[in-house]
């Protein structure tokens, strides 16, 4: 049985050319970039080339790029670092109720330290309203953090408009672009973004490497303390191979972005149309158009997500019932709840996120396998007959 991976929002397979680019730095090019000898210089050059590539990808300059250990660290550094460095100017932060936990939990930690945080609501599609942001701004607001695109339902935020509001009020603006990168064009100047988080393993790069872009002049305290690496902003011996892999991953996905996005969108639309046609009592979550090209997110009424996932896995299909890191927990998704879904529905979600290797055959296979699984689980569900009767009446 061929297995079909449909969880690209959780992590992606590494592109073979990314590995190829990394290999020298896992072998003979093992120098520590901070040293002075030739071996170190080659490592250093490789890191700086990757930095240029990332900078160019988002319209920044290389000195504004810091390499981190992943999206989580980038988000932590953005929020905590801005809060610490700017607390003299105010202690109010605005974010949204659908951010990744790396943002939400950092915000919660800052609340304990005396900051006040406004969590903007979203509409039924998962979108933040520009008017809500405007209304939330206070004199002591020092930071606005709004994700570019959501990792669960795939909804894309109107970042440019939100960034403009931040700019008009002269407030630092951070965006978590971990899911958007590689699918949406990023341009920190156009979008009014002062800080931006990326993670390599979401775009066919290695796990454990990320980026924080910090606009020149924006004050951000160091999260980690130590050596002078990354121009004194992020200590620790550089993960050279990882950084090189990130640079190569970005080079690759920059190459034919439109074509790739178009192909994914086509597959996704096939999948969505098929699911909606073949299964009843199902709904698509997130925005119908303003969504990531590879994201399909459903609620199947009367059944619970994990049993659906495990059944799919037994058929060789890997999906998710929300964000990867919450699937170990029993809490329903905070994103779905923020979008107004009742708990019982929020438990029945299935996220299928497509990527480079997926084909039309994969979609066909899913459309064959999924309906009987849903039916089987519904036949076991005490909610099914009662409700189905009601809604079918």
């Amino acid at each position: 049985m061929k297995s079909i991976y449909l969880d690209h929002a959780a992590t992606t397979p590494m592109h073979p050319r990314v590995l190829e680019a990394m290999l020298p730095y896992l072998q003979e090019q093992y120098g520590n970039p901070s040293s002075v000898y030739s071996l170190a210089r080659e490592a250093k050059n490789a890191v700086e080339d990757a930095r240029k590539r990332v900078a160019q990808f988002i319209g920044a300059s290389p000195q504004e790029i810091i390499f981190t250990s992943g999206g989580t660290e980038s988000d932590n550094m953005a929020l905590w670092g801005v809060a610490q460095a700017n607390r003299g100017r105010g202690k109010h932060i605005i974010t949204t109720s659908i951010e990744h936990h790396a943002v939400l939990d950092t915000a919660a930690a800052l609340e304990k330290e005396g900051f006040s945080v406004t969590y903007l609501p979203v509409d039924g599609y998962g979108q933040v309203q520009v008017a809500d942001l405007k209304a939330a701004i206070r004199d002591d607001t020092i930071l606005i953090s709004i994700m570019y695109a959501n990792n669960e339902v795939g909804t894309i935020q109107p970042i440019k408009e939100l960034g403009q509001v931040a700019r008009d009020h002269n407030i630092i603006f951070h965006t978590d672009a971990v899911q958007a990168a590689g699918y949406l064009p990023l341009d920190v100047d156009r979008d009014g973004v002062d800080l931006l988080s990326l993670s390599a393993h979401k775009l066919y790069g290695p796990k454990g490497v990320g980026v924080l872009y910090i606009r020149r002049g924006v004050k951000v305290a160091n999260l980690l303390k130590g050596g002078g690496q990354e121009r004194g902003r992020r200590p620790g011996t550089e993960n050279v191979a990882g950084i090189v892999g990130l640079g190569e991953a970005i080079r690759l996905c920059q190459g034919k972005m439109e074509e790739r996005v178009e192909r994914l969108r086509h597959l996704r639309d096939l999948l969505i149309a098929g699911v909606l046609a073949k299964i009843d009592h199902v709904r698509l979550n997130g925005h119908p158009e303003k969504r990531l090209p590879g994201n399909a997110h459903f609620i199947f009424e009367f059944i619970e997500g994990e049993s659906l996932l495990i059944s799919l896995d037994l058929e060789g299909i890997a999906g998710s019932s929300g964000s990867a890191c919450t699937s170990g927990s029993l809490e329903p998704s905070h994103v779905l709840l923020a979008m107004g879904l009742p708990h019982e529905l929020a438990h029945g979600s299935l996220r299928l996120t497509l990527g480079e290797e997926n084909t039309e055959e994969d979609i066909e296979r899913v459309l064959q396998v999924l309906p009987p699984i849903v039916q089987r689980l519904r036949d076991m569900s005490p909610l099914y007959k009662q409700r189905a009767k009601v809604s079918g009446a």
């Binding site: 049993s307 029993l330 569900s381 005490p382 909610l383």
Partner: protein
Amino acid sequence: MYNEKVMEFFMNPKNIGEIENPDGVGEVGNPRCGDIMRITIKVEDDRLVDVKFKTFGCAAAIATSSMITEMAVGKTIKEALALTNRSVADALDGLPPIKMHCSNLAADALHAAIKDYQEKSRLGV
């Protein structure tokens, strides 16, 4: 995540369904928490002669439901009342720790069904 026995009971659960005109019905959990189990029983001579379940929940919830029905059938009321959530988990060779508290409600559902049966008998329904 789950051991083979749990997977077996999840994929091939026994005693799915609802008994028509049951002698007792037990329902525990709540959809907000992501698990609901509904157990229906048939009692003859103080003995469970039929036990069926319907479950909305994760694989652990489904497997434990199925397991309890198997364990309960043929038992006297008293024996059935001695079954615990823990004994169900043990019969499945264990559950992941995170599932022990939340999805391991099958004995509760059975006890609720028995209680319902006892109430009805007492009232002479």
